[in-house]
């Protein structure tokens, strides 16, 4: 569907214009970045400058953070739809400020400035930019507040307010902004930075149009939008049509809420190149800040599509024309205006991004695009620090070590350690020597062993950090996070979900007294017991609290999901990880089933083979045949013989989600259905569904699912093969002994084995007795 105006455009001139606009917007973006006072702008590059066509779609985007590519477009469309032109008016030199995340943006701290662009007196398009500002006057410093219950706790909300009229900055609006926040200095610096960025962009764009001509510019920018859509469709056509599903759970825990929440992402690839994304199963929105508004979830998912799938393209928001998104209103992924949403972009929204990693990888595997595969990446648990710095100035920032997340395992490699955040392919967690601008002293920033999901290829490891207030008596520290009871990052193909997040706070520690005596200090979450003081194991979503110098704030971040059966991991990779301190002896022996010499790390191949063979035998002994497992699960649900939190979850979700109810009904039918007879063998492989499951054709032409390791026929090709495996509910503390494992009352690791050879084909991190996910529904 390439634009039909192609013929009228000189292709070379078009290409030249594209490069010119890219350069000019990069310059304007850098103006904003250099003038900003936010560490997240400097370290994470959370800034963008865009050009939009008249109807609002962005054609050129210079973005430090891809997640925001749709934010400006949404705000413009809002102003048009709300008929701003009729009374508020769009004039040359106007700029509008917006941060209402139900209109556009991820959450309240994302502030954008939008300027109608005029050429020779005619309104022909828009310019816009945004940055994440560190303080918005919410119930706690920052703007991602763990104690926010509803929208009005999250700070000042500007739904597109004119802040500059005909080139004059409106001081009244600047005062509204600065008087509403704890750190007026930064608010003013950042707002002025954005005004300057749009002004630079305006000057440059005017010159470009002078050179290229208005008519050409308008046609070319429209074509840029159309080309992006055409590319997006072509890419999807390369995938096998069908539905791919992934599910994630989160523990939503605070003083007013202790619940399990679920989100399932369904990606449907259509023959016309459309990508339909929905969440057929989603919990109702929560009381608390772990919800998403629709613009945020759209931007988050689009961002993953850009870096994992559409990466070869020149992208812009024209691609969104080839993507449909459907999320139930009032759900955690499309919360209404009453909800707080501060944690969305790095919390439950980022978890849904992990689901998208999973389904893109599964679709890519089938299509042979192995280089696009990556199991779920992690989310962020983000410490925020506020108060006064050593010069007595107000201060607010995040601890950027949180960006040092683990990437999901890849097709033939481990995930990358400490380097993958979903919203920015160019991750930068900064140095410890950024302490110069903050009232803290860092004691530790290093990788945490086994913090990624175990697997044939393990998830990338996450960082851990330990820090204390320093040279300031007014320091407040909070943690924007989740996941104290559950793993929020799933594995794939038999790889495990990650351990949970963790937060330990030690007040009144004797760390400096120990140091004076040159006694061992705690440099890892594993040896915090070296210090005395009041130790608190806190759920990793904590409102800001005042801490004193010497109090320790110890945070474990998230790793990436594992991929493949851990007992298939190359023993030499296991030995290397142990030698480098990246895994534990327990994991080596009990998860990877490797026997090695702890002194020279030499692998005993024979003993290892024996251990692995024994593990498979144990699986065959302990695994329950699928139908029997489902029958028991149905009985448990009916008798409500379940942990209280699971029971409450099932009650809520059954009430809210019709697709979930249908899943329960299906399992009831399946549990009592007569057994089917499948062919004993199948000959011709039609496609590889996963590294362990193939779709094959039997001699009588029947399409069946087969274990590609041993040839065992599991079921018909249109059935859920997991229901025909041996299934075992694993207590996660069997897997993660040295790290914090999910609480089995909240989440078990449901393992699926081939009933013949015992290979572990899938693992679901899920509350006990919840339905088994039907991952693939392909057009075969």
């Amino acid at each position: 569907m390439v634009s039909n105006i192609d013929d009228q455009l000189d292709p070379v001139k078009y290409e030249v214009l594209y490069h010119r606009l890219e350069q000019e917007m990069y310059e304007a973006q850098q103006i904003v970045r250099h003038l900003s006072a936010s560490t997240i702008v400097r370290e994470a590059g959370e800034v963008a400058e865009v050009i939009c066509i008249k109807e609002g779609t962005a054609c050129i985007i210079s973005a430090g953070l891809l997640v925001h590519v749709a934010s400006v477009t949404r705000n413009i469309k809002y102003m048009i739809a709300n008929r701003y032109a009729d009374d508020i008016g769009f004039y040359e030199g106007d700029q509008f400020i917006g941060n209402d995340c139900h209109i556009g943006g991820m959450h309240i701290p994302d502030m954008m400035l939008i300027a109608p662009f005029f050429y020779k007196g005619e309104h022909i398009g828009w310019l816009g930019n945004y940055t994440h500002v560190p303080e918005v006057g919410a119930i706690e410093p920052g703007g991602m507040c763990a104690s926010a219950k509803e929208f009005c706790h999250e700070g000042i909300r500007m739904p597109g307010v004119k802040i500059s009229e005909k080139g004059r900055v409106k001081r009244d609006i600047i005062q509204i902004l600065t008087h509403a926040v704890r750190d007026p200095k930064t608010m003013e610096i950042d707002t002025r930075a954005k005004i300057a960025g749009n002004e630079r962009a305006r000057q440059r764009l005017t010159k470009v149009i002078d050179e290229f001509g208005l008519d050409f510019y308008l046609k070319a920018t429209k074509k840029m939008v159309d080309d992006a859509e055409a590319f997006a469709r072509e890419r999807v056509k390369g995938l096998r049509p069908g539905k791919y599903r992934a599910r994630t759970y989160t523990d939503s825990v605070s003083a007013f809420d202790q619940k399990i929440r679920v989100g399932e992402l369904c990606m449907e690839t259509k023959k016309d190149g459309e990508l339909a994304i929905s969440t057929p199963v989603a919990s109702p929105q929560a009381m608390g800040y772990n919800n998403c508004a629709m613009p945020a979830i759209e931007g988050l998912l689009f961002c993953v599509l850009l870096w994992q799938f559409y990466y070869k393209s020149r992208w812009n928001t024209g691609m969104l024309n080839a993507i449909s998104m459907d999320f139930p209103l009032g759900s955690v992924f499309n919360a209404d205006r009453s909800a707080a949403v501060g944690y969305c972009p790095i919390g439950v929204g980022m978890q849904l991004q992990g689901c998208l990693n999973d389904v893109i990888s599964r679709a890519s595997f089938i299509s042979g695009n192995y280089e696009d595969m990556m199991a779920s990446n992690s989310l962020l648990n983000c410490p925020t620090v506020g108060g006064l710095d050593r010069y007595g100035r107000t201060y607010g920032a995040i601890i950027t070590s949180t960006m040092a997340c683990g990437g999901g395992a890849r097709h033939d490699k481990d995930g990358q350690d400490c380097s993958v955040t979903q919203f920015n392919p160019w991750d930068d967690c900064g140095d410890v020597e950024t302490e110069e601008v903050g009232p803290i002293l860092m004691f530790t920033r290093r990788r945490r062993a086994d913090s990624g999901g175990a697997g044939k290829f393990r998830g990338g490891l996450a960082a851990q950090s330990i820090f204390t207030p320093h040279r300031s008596d007014v320091t407040f520290v909070g943690l924007t996070g989740s996941g104290g009871y559950m793993s929020l990052v799933q594995g794939m193909y038999g790889g495990y979900p990650t351990p949970t997040g963790a937060l330990e706070v030690i007040t009144g520690s004797n760390i400096y007294a120990l140091a004076e005596k040159k006694l061992p200090l705690p440099f890892s979450m594993e040896n915090l017991d070296r210090v005395e003081g009041k130790h608190e194991s806190v759920y990793p979503s904590a409102a800001s609290r005042k801490l004193n110098q010497g109090d320790l704030y110890c945070v474990q971040y998230w790793g990436g999901g594992g991929s493949g059966d851990p007992i298939e991991r190359d023993p030499s990779m296991v030995a290397k990880d142990l030698r480098d301190g990246l895994t534990h002896r327990y994991t080596v022996e009990n998860i990877y089933c490797v026997d090695l010499d702890p002194v020279n790390y030499k692998v005993n191949e024979v003993e290892t083979q024996k251990l692995r063979s024994e593990r498979k035998q144990a699986r065959l002994r302990n695994g329950i045949p699928g139908k029997e497992y489902v029958r028991k699960m149905v009985e448990r649900r009916k008798s409500n013989h379940l942990p209280e939190v699971v029971s409450a979850f099932l009650e809520e979700i059954t009430d809210f989600s019709e697709p979930f109810r249908k899943e329960l009904e299906f399992e009831e039918r399946f549990a009592t259905s007569p057994d089917k007879i499948y062919p004993a063998t199948a000959g011709k492989e039609l496609l590889k569904l996963t590294p362990y499951i193939s779709v094959m054709e039997s001699e009588d032409g029947r399409k069946v699912m087969v274990c590609s390791k041993c040839g065992k026929v599991l079921c018909d090709a249109n059935e859920n093969f997991k229901l025909h495996c041996l299934i075992y509910d694993r207590d996660p503390s069997d897997i993660y002994v040295e790290n914090k494992a999910p609480d089995k009352n909240w989440m078990i690791f449901r393992e699926f084995y081939c009933p013949e050879c015992g290979i572990q084909v899938e693992v679901e991190g899920t509350p006990v007795a919840t339905p088994i996910v039907h991952t693939y529904e392909l057009d075969l």
Partner: protein, 725 residues
Amino acid sequence: MEEHGEKYIVYTDTGGTFSDAVIVRQDGTFVNGKSSTTPDDLEQCFFNCVSAAAKNIGLSVEEVFSKTEILGYGTTAGTNAILTRQGAPDLGLIITKGFEDTTLIGRSLGRWAGIHPTQSIHVPTTDYPEPLIPRTRIKGVTERIDSAGEVIIPLYEHEVRKAVQELTDAGVSGICVVLLWSFLNNKHENKIREIIEEMAPGMPTAISSEVSPLIREYSRANSTIVNLYIGTALRTLLERIKRRLVESGYRKPMLVMQAAGGLSRRKVVKPVSTLHSGPVGGLVGVRFWKDQYGVKNVLGSDVGGTSFDVSILSEEGSPYIREPVVARFTISNPMMEIISIGAGGGTVAYVDEMTHLLRVGPMSAGAKPGPVCYGRGGTEPTVTDADVVLGRIDPDYFLGGSMKLDKAAAEKAMKEKIADPMGISLEDAALDICEIIDQTMGDTLASTVRQRGLKPEDFTVFGFGGAGPAHCAGYTAGTSYKQVIVTPFASTFSAYGASTSDVLHRYESSPFTVMPGLPFDVTTGYFDVKELPQEHNDAIKRYNGICQQLIDNAYSDMADEGFRESDISISYVLEMRYGGQLYEVMTRPKKIIIDSVEDMNNILNTFENKYVELFSEGAMYPGGGIEIYNIVVEASAAVMKPEPLRFPKKGKDPKNALKEKRKAYFKMSDGRKWVDTPVYEMGLLEHGNVVNGPAIIEHVDTTFVVLPDRLVTVDEFHHMVMTEK
């Protein structure tokens, strides 16, 4: 030519593929020599290329060296050692405990730094480079200094001893030491070095507060490691070359090019500072000619096979990159800023499979396989192939005819891969490629100037590099530069440029001088300081102390280089920002030590003027006070330089240089067409000659394409000055 009594400057540059030598006479004329780089023995190619150059003037190497006044050496040996992992084996690292993974986490950006964004956007395919020191040889020791330079946790010496013992037991060949904030207080790093020396006498060490005393531990650690990693081999190489030079009759010091843009004596040069010094030679050449022409603002534009490198020298000097990326490691040794994009002769053109539009780059066919016309297995049409198809490059006169190009192969690839899929003619496909690549390079050139708040019309552009002259008319089109100058020795511009370099040392420190609450005029936004602020006495005292130390170091090192105080010129850079901001503005005050309120106001005014120039008055934020983030002291001393010959003026008519006419394809005022284009021999053009475009001016190692709307005048240096008609 009379060679007796002459003095020479000799400069050699060891590149990845070729080594170049120039022998420059005092009158600025020179000869060059080329030889293949011998990666296993870099000493050999050093002398091979000098020998090749010497042969061109009928002298032996010994005869040349006996007349050599200055010998400079630029080398990519360090970069190559990292790329091929052939530096010092089995190094160890001692680092502040709790931060043992600093170099492995690599600030997260280690995963993608040095990879082009069009590739690094695809996260699953990006990985960290193989570390120079693996985790098993990284040892943490308990200690902590804070951002004020104060010891918060004492050094646990027993842990140091244990670490040194473990590393020596593991057979390390050297130990690097990197502690947090050591550049503010090096007490612990020095103590560790003492312990290493005591336990393992003679063990090579690198101490971060010495190698790179600058803030940001990741890049400082990389610099420290790289310095030791490439250091031993580089020092050995320099020692061997020096020994043979002495045998050949050269008795003066051997000078080594640094990425900061100046030479340093072999004995004092920091190995890490030699990384990426090759391209900097071009920049130094630009500086030399800037002075010769007496112009204030110049741009260097260097088009090689794979990259388009832009350097800028304005009235206020040239910018530095604080943290360059070398072989995918971010280091903290500042180098002269060269903005580089993937665009050059080897840049590949293709038709986008989804949108069916023509794209050019950023991928490159590189030197191997190279353009299709090289006949080395390249199959994808490149910019050089387009030049050949258009008749601009003579396939029989490439590198003076020493390398025959396969025009038919270039045409075939261009037709099959570009022209046919797009439904256009062969020559239109080639011209489209040139126009796109020219515009891409042109945008980079212009935005380099504009991003600094400067105006292109104030700048003179130098076009050099093997493919520079073929495209400089294209990439300067549409922007009103003052003039564009092409030299007859465009492809050896870098080596020649480097031969004109001064001895230069650069000293830096990060003082964190924070002065909130300075008085300012609320109506104008400018600072209004009437007396030195008493509340900042301590900060100013500390700042002055650091400045004085840097200045003392500069004079002392230059004295060691053999210069008198009167020979040395000192200049300063302060990186400053308003309090609360996170990015610094580079300013160049005349004096940095603050003795009086006038000194203070001079510093503040210099900052404000630069800030307003870059960002406008509307973006001022005096309420935040001021922060001085970084101090730089540069000390330089001039060494012998060539005095370029100025040729007498001749007539306008270039007929004596006319070689032939050949068909070349151009965009003329009445459309694209094949034109009988005059071809001139560059070496025969004379001062005053005027060449009207379209024309082609050839030289043994470069081709200068004059587009139809351009005019070229040959100046007194026999350089070609291009202007619009």
